[in-house]
């Protein structure tokens, strides 16, 4: 199938107009030796055939519809109201470009402005950008922003080991070229339960940023106020990585001293889609607004004095500052930010609180049930948690999960993959999509496969 509309007559007329005999003549500047290589690709499919092929490929997967899933670890299987996709499919949204021409992009611009506002409301921060690629790259951008905030004079980044392991890896990748940045607190030899005193002990006057997670990667909720005060006493910035869904219930980081809030926006109406595209939330205080990487939309007026929205503070960005820019980001997750904007608008204050509570309650029911199974215990039983918790299992998690597949259950995340110090520990996530029957079935299967 081709989407080019040219008829044979069109091509002839167009060639005549430009004075060329044939199409090949258009490519004479390509070195002859390399011109027109053969491409070995399968025969072209029609729409009918493509649909059948893609359906067949998709059917080789088992989905969270085919299996009861307790997987989370930063990405959650929440219900997505159908109105969201219905609106995302408006081609005025998805077939438009970055809103560099505000007169004909007010839809995208207003949606981003509302997204920024909703993220500020949710996190308790003053300003949000138009989004980064995902939670992990938002974390890396926070590190780089903090580094530049101190003009490179503070080189220490203190990162809790209970920040999402992927975020920590991406931070390491992004900072390779900043040769004096030193990342501490997250190395493999550190105890994963490294408490606040030990993290605080790493802070000093060279610290540019403290990065912590709330709820942390194990699902636990801690009071970070004292730790944040200690970081501030050294003049360091503090970034808090959040699960935005939890903020339907929990005190936002803006109220306990965070300078930067980052997070994975996927829980807010974005499909699992095997890891992407997702949404990198990035919000901060107004004092730092000029240090933010990425797009920002602001309000203004047009020539007639009418309210309008535009991309603003663009002098920070790569297309203006080139090598002097602090980030190369040249897109935002436009459509994903739109999805979360619609999600938060539909649910509103009561809906988001309700879904957060459902996740909390069902997760607590699951933890309660699992703690009664012989051989299983809840690792941090005295610490409050949101919708995810660590289970100590009687056998390696990989073996349990393999056996659970026969019960059409996707067991929780195997923590030993990233935390060798936690063998036999499973991170169990529960969302509002799971029923009591699903949770009961999981507990029964756990019992059965570990007997």
């Amino acid at each position: 199938m081709m989407y080019t509309p040219h008829t044979k007559n069109d091509v002839e007329a167009m060639l005549a107009a430009i004075g060329r005999e044939n199409i090949d003549h258009l490519f004479q500047e390509i070195p002859e030796k390399y011109r027109f290589p053969k491409l070995d690709l399968p025969k072209a499919l029609t729409e009918l055939e493509a649909q059948a092929e893609l359906q067949e490929i998709a059917s080789a997967n088992a989905t969270t519809k085919d299996m009861i899933s307790f997987l989370g670890a930063g990405v959650y299987d929440h219900y997505i109201p159908v109105a969201i996709d219905s609106l995302l499919r408006r081609s005025e949204f998805y077939t438009s470009y970055t809103p560099y021409q505000p007169e004909i992009s007010q839809g995208t611009l207003q949606a981003i402005f509302e997204y920024q506002s909703l993220i500020c409301a949710l996190t308790g921060m003053d300003v949000s950008n138009a989004s980064h690629y995902d939670g992990a790259t938002a974390a890396a951008e926070a590190v780089i922003m903090a580094y530049h905030n101190f003009k490179g004079k503070r080189n220490k980044i203190v990162v809790s080991r209970i920040v999402n392991p992927q975020y920590r890896k991406v931070i390491h990748t992004y900072t390779q070229g900043y040769e004096n940045i030193s990342i501490v607190g997250d190395d493999a030899f550190t105890d994963s339960t490294l408490n606040h005193q030990e993290l605080a002990a790493l802070l000093d006057i060279d610290t540019a940023l403290l990065l912590i997670q709330y709820p942390d990667f194990f699902g636990n909720i801690y009071d970070y106020r004292q730790l944040i005060e200690q970081a501030h006493a050294y003049g360091a910035l503090v970034a808090v990585s959040v699960n935005p869904m939890s903020l339907g219930l929990l005190t936002p980081p803006g109220e306990f001293g965070a300078d930067i809030v980052i997070g994975e926006g996927q829980p807010l109406g974005i499909p699992l889609s095997y890891g992407g595209p997702y949404l990198g939330i990035f919000a901060t205080k107004k004092e730092l607004v000029r240090k933010i990487a990425g797009r920002i939309v602001g309000q203004t007026t047009d020539v007639n004095g009418q309210l309008a929205y535009v991309l603003t503070l663009t002098a920070r960005e790569q297309h203006i500052r080139r090598e002097k820019s602090t980030s190369n980001i040249c897109s935002n997750q436009g459509l994903m930010a739109l999805a979360s904007t619609i999600y938060l608008s539909l649910l509103g204050k009561n809906g988001l609180k309700q879904v957060a509570e459902l996740c909390y309650q069902k997760a607590h029911y699951a933890a309660d049930r699992i703690s009664r199974i012989k051989g299983f215990s809840i690792k941090y039983s005295s610490t409050p948690f949101f919708n995810e918790f660590v289970v100590h299992c009687p056998k390696p998690v990989s073996l349990i999960n393999l056996a659970l597949q026969d019960h059409l259950i996707l067991g929780g995340y195997d923590l030993s993959q990233e935390y060798p110090e936690l063998p036999n520990h499973m991170l169990v996530a529960v969302t509002e999509k799971l029923s009591k029957e699903d949770i009961d079935a999981f507990c029964e299967a756990l019992e059965e496969v570990t007997q």
């Binding site: 081709m2 399968p42 997967n61 969270t64 005025e92 470009y97 990748t173 005190t251 509103g348 009591k436």
Partner: protein, 488 residues
């Protein structure tokens, strides 16, 4: 018409979604951690649907008309791609699922890697980068690590032509390179004379966009690449303009070492109002061990009875992970569908028609607009949006006036080396009639500039808002619904 924001449309007690009741016993909430206020809007579903429908109608889009943004490749986004990306078999898979439960996803990614290798000539491809700019970051980190592995840590100079996208120098700075801007020669090619002095043991590499942002195929390309290689440097190819080269030339065969693709340009995945994009990166055999972690691979060969088992491998010298998981999978499905429906002939047809369209359009407007480089163009071209006899008219005025005729303007003021640049890329999905009508409009605007320049200065007249005060936006900084003025 001003559209109120979701906060202004809110009314206490409304909701647009209802969840089922709790079906498990109730547990005590963590009282010390509960938030006191959640200042989100309250709206009914119809209010939400109408609001977003109304604001959508203030956007211009490919589905409305010609969108000739240079170097952005705003081609038609096939509807079948959207359907395929939403198949529950794909959309409802969790990235932490065991690989035996996601063989469909892994097959699709593996096959797409193979196809991109075939199209570009590279030995290995990663699908992980989230966008072209992130692909560049991957490339720059690979160049850096490659030199470090070879104990050539002094190689810090990266050469970037002055016609390059801003992301090239910005990316280079992020990895600690020193950016050296290379002027273009009189034919718009990379200047060989300007490169020569930097071909020494300080050279990390060159970032080359070809066809460049002038829409010209670099006539010095193989010579320049040879010079860089001779000096021990690597050549990064910015694949933004790959839409001109499908089945025309394989960039790796020209000698390019690393290149990113923009699936949202060349392979028809939607731009989404600014994202998500997808920027896979191809590399030569020498560099494949440096690719980001992880990469999709066959971990157990199949035979006649059983298909191969797909999984992940971890390149030995990897630069590391650059985002969560494996790439923008939803975008990859769309690109897979597009390539599957085109195959070799179809892909070549795309580039042929893209180049034909650009040259045809150029032939229709070149009498009225100045062409800075008298050459045949590839898939796009740049003209000057300014005339000596009407000095008060600028590229911006032409761009804004085009909106009155129902067009999105071309990219303007880029590349920086062309005075008042208008960079025009019609793409292959526009018909001759559409190009004729657009050319006629451009030419009419050139006439208007003389007859009634005020019409251009005051344009646009027919859009939801008129020209916007960008200085005011940056000065007053109103960045969310309830903040009056952050700059105070």
């Amino acid at each position: 018409m001003i559209e109120k924001t979701v906060f202004e449309l809110s009314a206490e007690g409304r909701t647009g979604f209802q969840f089922p009741d709790l079906d498990v016993p109730s547990y005590e909430l963590p009282q010390d951690f509960l938030r006191q206020q959640l200042p989100l809007p309250e709206m009914s579903e119809i209010d939400v649907v109408r609001h977003f429908t109304r604001i959508s109608q203030k956007n211009y889009a490919v589905d409305i008309g010609l969108y000739p943004l240079g170097s952005c490749t705003m081609k038609y986004n096939p509807k079948i791609n959207e359907e395929m990306a939403r198949l529950p078999g794909f959309a409802l898979t969790h990235p932490h699922q065991p690989i035996v439960t996601t063989q469909g996803n892994l097959f699709l990614m593996y096959t797409l890697q193979e196809w991109l290798k075939e199209i570009s000539g590279f030995a290995a491809v990663t699908l992980e980068p989230a966008a072209g700019a992130q692909g560049e970051l991957v490339g720059a980190l690979i160049i850096r690590k490659y030199h470090h592995q070879n104990r050539q840590v002094g190689r810090k100079n990266i050469l970037i032509p002055d016609s390059a996208h801003g992301t090239n120098p910005a990316t280079s700075s992020m990895v600690g390179f020193d950016v050296i801007s290379i002027p273009s020669d009189s034919r718009g090619n990379v200047s060989i004379e300007a490169i020569a002095p930097y071909c020494d043991d300080q050279l990390a590499g060159l970032m080359l966009t070809n066809p460049n942002t002038l829409g010209l195929f670099d006539e010095n390309v193989t010579k320049v690449i040879d010079m860089i290689h001779q000096a021990g440097g690597l050549v990064y190819g910015d694949g933004a303009n790959m839409n001109a080269l499908l089945g025309i030339v394989k960039p790796a065969e020209l000698g390019i070492d690393i290149m990113h693709f923009n699936l949202h340009k060349t392979f028809s995945t939607p731009h989404g109002g600014g994202g998500p994009g997808s920027g896979p990166v191809g590399v030569t055999t020498t560099l494949k061990d440096f690719l980001p972690d992880p990469i999709v691979t066959v971990i157990e060969e199949g035979d006649e009875e059983t298909p191969p088992l797909f999984g992940f491998s971890h390149p030995a010298q990897t630069i590391g992970q650059i985002k969560s998981f494996y790439g923008h999978f939803g975008v990859l499905i769309r690109a897979y569908t597009y390539i599957a429906m085109h195959s070799a002939d179809g892909l070549r047809n795309i580039s042929e028609m893209a180049v034909l369209n650009a040259n045809y359009l150029l032939s229709k407007v070149r009498q009225k607009y100045t062409l800075p480089y008298e050459r045949q163009c590839m898939h796009e071209f740049v003209v000057e949006g300014v005339w000596d006899d009407v000095p008060g008219i600028h590229a911006l005025d032409i761009a804004k006036r085009l909106m009155d005729f129902g067009y999105h303007p071309p990219t303007n003021y880029f590349p920086l080396i062309v005075h008042e640049a208008l960079m025009i890329e019609p793409t292959e999905t526009e018909s001759k009639e559409n190009l004729d009508a657009f050319a006629e409009t451009l030419n009419r605007i050139a006439d208007e500039a003389r007859l009634n320049p005020e019409l251009l200065h005051s344009a646009p007249h027919s859009t939801p808002v008129g020209r916007c005060d960008e200085l005011k936006a940056a000065r007053d900084l109103v960045l969310c619904c309830w903040s009056d003025n952050l700059s105070e």
